[in-house]
Amino acid sequence: MRNSLTLKKDYFAGALMVLIGVGAVLEARHYSIGTLFHMGPGFFPIILGVTMTGIGILIAGVAATAQAADDDQLHMPNPQWRAWGCILAGPILFIILGTYGGLIPATFACVFVSALGDKDITLKSALVLGVAVTVFGVALFSYLLQVSMPMWRWGPL
């Protein structure tokens, strides 16, 4: 039998739920709660936040009493940090370049960097993929749908 102090996955799941619940309550404090007869905009969010916190504690509590299963461990069998970094960086780059650079550099950077996360991909195929998606995106969003986002730009809005 394993030591009961091992960090089980569900402890983190519970903690995350508590975090979300407490966050919801903290944010909902600013809205008026009202009374039971005249509920304000903050009434339901606070109820949900409190429920969420309770469920989070419950999840962690159940995990504490249950036997540790094999897949309960936090250990990932084969973590791929490169994929984590690249895929998370993709959308962030899109946001930054989309604000300061326009549609073309943002799309290309997002697709190119995300594609680099695949450890089997070559630089050339990532480039081809990035160019293809950019051309497709520009044709669809700029020309066909006329989305009001400049293709090229320099500097903030």
């Binding site: 905009p41 903050g42 949900l48 429920t51 969420m52 069998p77 084969n78």
Partner: protein, 251 residues
């Protein structure tokens, strides 16, 4: 009461089965099907987009066509849920649970056929019940107050959360999280923006299509980066490489 219902039904069938009306209805089902397959095109969106088609038509034909669009779009959503594991709008999420595994076994056609049959039986039964029981139901409906509506919602939410695989508590947790996400946006009663964090885009709430597509992306991301890729994982978890591609082509 039943007699009048039967006479009305007879008259209704007489009108609906006139050749030109049935052609309009067929067209409606066809178009509804084609549009309903696209992810994010729910029944309401489809009908509102296709509404202008009926402007020049006679009322009966127009209503029959819109009815056809309604059922066609309803069924069209199921096609995409079964074949791509991509629920086009919320009610089809359940279809994915059984339909997509059948596609993986190569029996997608059977699943589609079953859906047609089930939709037909369900819709016919519902309409028949509505026709004959409506006068009785009216009396019950008037007694259906806020407390009853609230308990019904609670039942639905709890039943929905137990549909999830794995532990029921986590299902309930995710349901509550979903409700919290649903709160984002302007309050219906007072118009106060809630959880918008000063972003005017969030006043409208979180877009369900964007959220659903993002969830597919996250599932795929987790599968890839946690190294769970392989023959052991592909049976249980939903790996849907088709999702981003089909979504991109639908836009």
């Amino acid at each position: 009461m039943i007699y009048s219902a039967l006479t009305d039904l007879w008259y209704g069938f007489g009108v609906a089965l006139e050749p030109h009306n049935i052609v309009f209805c067929f067209l409606g089902v066809l178009i509804g099907n084609i549009v309903g397959v696209l992810p994010g095109m729910g029944v309401l969106a489809t009908i509102s987009i296709l509404l202008p088609l009926t402007f020049g038509m006679k009322p009966v034909g127009a209503i029959l066509m819109l009815a056809g669009v309604f059922y066609g779009a309803q069924y069209g959503g199921a096609i995409c849920s079964i074949l791509l594991n991509l629920p086009c709008h919320p009610p089809h999420a359940v279809t994915c649970l059984d339909g997509y595994p059948m596609t993986k076994q190569g029996r997608g056609g059977v699943a589609l056929g079953m859906t047609v049959f089930a939709s037909f039986v369900g819709a016919s039964w519902g309409i028949t019940e509505m026709t004959f029981l409506a006068p009785v139901l009216v009396q019950v409906a008037l007694k259906f107050g806020p407390a009853e509506v609230c308990s019904l919602m609670l039942l639905g939410l709890l039943a929905g959360s137990t549909l999830a695989r794995g532990s029921p508590i986590k299902g309930v947790a995710m349901t509550v999280f979903g409700l919290l996400l649903g709160i984002v946006g302007a309050d219906i009663e007072t118009g106060t923006p809630r959880f918008a964090f000063g972003m005017t885009e969030l006043d409208d709430g979180v877009e369900i299509v964007a959220l659903a597509l993002a969830l597919f992306g996250i599932a795929e991301f987790m599968n890839t980066t946690c190294g769970r890729r392989g023959p052991t994982s592909s049976s249980g978890s939903c790996r849907c490489c088709a999702a981003p591609r089909s979504a991109a082509s639908a836009r």
